[in-house]
Amino acid sequence: MEFLINWLSNVPQSAVPFALAALGLIVCERSGVLNLGAEGYLLVGANAGAGAMLTTGSPMFAFVLAALAGGALSLLFALLVINLRMNQVISGLTIVFFAQGLTSLIAARNGWTSRSFSGLDQLDFGLLTDIPVLGPILFNQDAIVYLTVALFAGAVFVFKRTEIGLQIRAVGENPAAADSTGVSVSLYRYLAVVSGAMLIGLAGGYLSVGVSKIWVDDMAGGRGWIAIALMIFARWQFWPALAGAVLFGCIEALIPRVAAVGLQVPQYFVLMLPYVATLCAMVWVSLDRTRHSGVPAALGEPYVREERR
């Protein structure tokens, strides 16, 4: 029981990076832009967050900077895929590569590498926090955990209940249709790419500021790719993505505790767990062919109006 509470109360913290990253990815891809750069946005977010903590010590500032860093990098990506119509797969990979080089360069130049800093405080809801079992799991987390849930609700509202959401979805499903009704495809794609990347940047910021409290090179460790798989798994829907993120949070929170249970599994096999689990999830979801995959119909295709042979 002790183990269970200890494990589960760590799940939200492990789940938030996946959740925010998947949220940002969905926002971006619903506009029809294939985004393989998640790992890169996570890295610049984490890097900016760690830098802000080491220089100012203000978590608030760190998160704002992390989101802005993600957004700034995505402007480059948007330029490549929306204006220059570069292949979206290569562009996404290039962004990851670019971010890996850039962040480790910045960290090395500023001496941020492997310097720990203070993290975030848990919120205390008084009586609620004192509830046995549920208290520590649900009501003793940091502010970003609750913000994440709010951001999901906000995204769902925007996409389902507002004009902008309708237009972003239209641009992702049928840009020609959106264009002929006067919706600017490029503008909405920019909007979706940048706001999505800011969310992923925030996820990265949380990774360094809220979880590890330290910067090490390449610290996203493939979470960006797992988030992409999560998005596919969730069929580009918001709430299922959050549920999936919690599931992966459970797996990740379990890793440091496996030895504690007394299981004799070699540690590197334990570390494989999230990736193997992701593969399994993709297989599982593909076996159910009765349901629509949910992929935005125009995903990955640059839109050109004047194209004509």
């Binding site: 393989l36 480059l76 490549l80 204006n83 220059l84 119509r85 570069m86 292949n87 797969v89 290569i90 562009s91 990979l93 290039t94 962004i95 990851v96 590569f97 670019f98 890996q100 080089g101 850039l102 480790s104 360069l105 090395a108 130049r109 600017s184 495809v185 490029s186 503008l187 090179d217 460790g221 493939g222 790719w225 797992i226 992409i228 798989a229 596919i232 070699p266 540690q267 590197y268 096999f269 570390l271 494989m272 990736y275 193997v276 992701t278 593969l279 993709m282 297989v283 593909s286 076996l287 050109v304 109006r305 004047e306 194209e307 004509r308 042979r309």
Partner: protein, 363 residues
């Protein structure tokens, strides 16, 4: 720019910008634009380096002079270029059937594991040891790509994500081996025990060219031949250009894809062998770093052309070698190499835009 927002903003200038797709720009113009993109990329990279404190003279020295004048540096560049050529070919073959092999890194790792397995267990006669190691490496690379290939063909699972995840699994498996059963028994460092002499790719004994370079060249010729002259290569063009049409006319798209993708995995595995047996003489815990993405970028920059792969592999290799000395002498992290590669790709992609489009000003 095509979009309304931009078109509107230019209306005040009484001119509108029209964007047109052009089918084929003249070849000299294409080459010139690509070269300009490449130069721009190098220029931007140089600016980045200068901004982090490398002096211009040091830049010239590391990147140009020492490589051209010192035969040892040149040898280093060639030795590194060999596996880069092979991973570039690997990427190109898979892309030719529209299979995004992002898992080159994992296959490189498994290739080296296969080769090291043979070396550790002394499998086969010593005269054939290198051959056995190479074959084992290719087989291991094929095995590592087989699962994503199967998942893609049977369950239509996106190979980009699955091959990538396989990289992380391969990496953890490698670390498991190096920190566990395959730890160097002499030094207790996390790398495999050093290869014996018969297990190393030495010099061919001709012009000081190493065996790994020779192997890479042989595969360049083979792949170039397949693409340009064979029936397989001819049909592969259809699989790439229009798979539905290829199927309708009777091309066995699945078989062609399987063969090409397995070949891609085998080549990546071979690259792992070329790195371990040609450069490090053992399997280290970070030997593969940078090869996976580099292979993909080389394949992309070379537009899947095997000859162009050689050129870009050489360029990237020079970058890597120079990056190493920058790391040693200027304390600049090796990751600057990644940054520069990405910058080059972005600039070349921008120049490709000008090849594919014609910009016209109306009125």
């Amino acid at each position: 720019m095509p979009d309304s927002a931009v078109a509107r903003s230019h209306r005040s200038l009484l001119s509108r910008i029209n964007l047109e797709i052009r089918e084929h720009a003249p070849v000299p113009q294409q080459v010139a634009l690509l070269a300009a993109g490449l130069l721009l990329g190098l220029l931007v990279s140089a600016l980045i380096l200068v901004s982090v404190g490398v002096s211009v003279s040091a830049l010239l020295n590391e990147f140009v002079i020492s490589i051209v004048t010192s035969s040892r540096s040149m040898g280093n560049v060639l030795d590194r270029a060999a596996p880069l050529v092979i991973v570039g070919l690997s990427a190109a073959i898979a892309f030719k059937t529209r299979f995004w092999n992002i898992g080159i890194e994992g296959q490189v790792i498994f290739g080296a594991i296969g080769a090291t397995l043979v070396a550790n267990a002394d499998i086969g006669p010593p005269e054939l040891r290198l051959f056995t190691m190479g074959a084992a490496a290719m087989l291991a690379g094929m095995i590592w790509i087989a699962l994503p290939l199967y998942l893609r063909l049977r369950l239509r699972i996106n190979e980009i994500i699955s091959t990538l995840l396989m990289n992380y699994i391969a990496l953890n498996f490698l670390l498991h081996l190096l920190y566990g059963p395959w730890k160097d028994p002499v030094t207790a460092f996390p790398n495999s025990k050093i290869y014996e002499h018969v297990e190393r790719l030495g010099s061919t004994g001709w012009l000081n060219i190493s065996t790994s370079v020779a192997i890479a060249m042989v595969f360049v010729v083979i792949v170039a031949w397949i693409f340009a002259a064979s029936r397989f290569g001819f049909l592969m063009k259809f699989v790439y250009a229009n798979p539905a049409m290829a199927r309708a006319i009777g091309v066995n798209v699945a078989v062609l894809t399987i063969l090409a993708v397995l070949a891609s995995g085998a080549l990546s595995g071979l690259a792992g062998f070329a790195i371990s047996a040609g450069i490090d003489n053992r399997m280290t815990q970070s030997f593969f770093v940078g090869y996976g993405f580099s292979g993909i970028l080389i394949g992309f920059l070379a537009r899947n052309n095997p000859i162009a792969v050689v050129f870009f592999a050489f360029l990237i290799s020079a970058l890597m070698v120079a990056g190493q000395s920058l790391q040693i002498f200027y304390q600049i992290p090796f990751s600057i190499v990644q940054l520069i590669q990405a910058t080059i790709v972005i600039c070349v992609a921008a120049s490709e835009f000008l090849i594919r489009h014609r910009i016209r000003f109306v009125r």
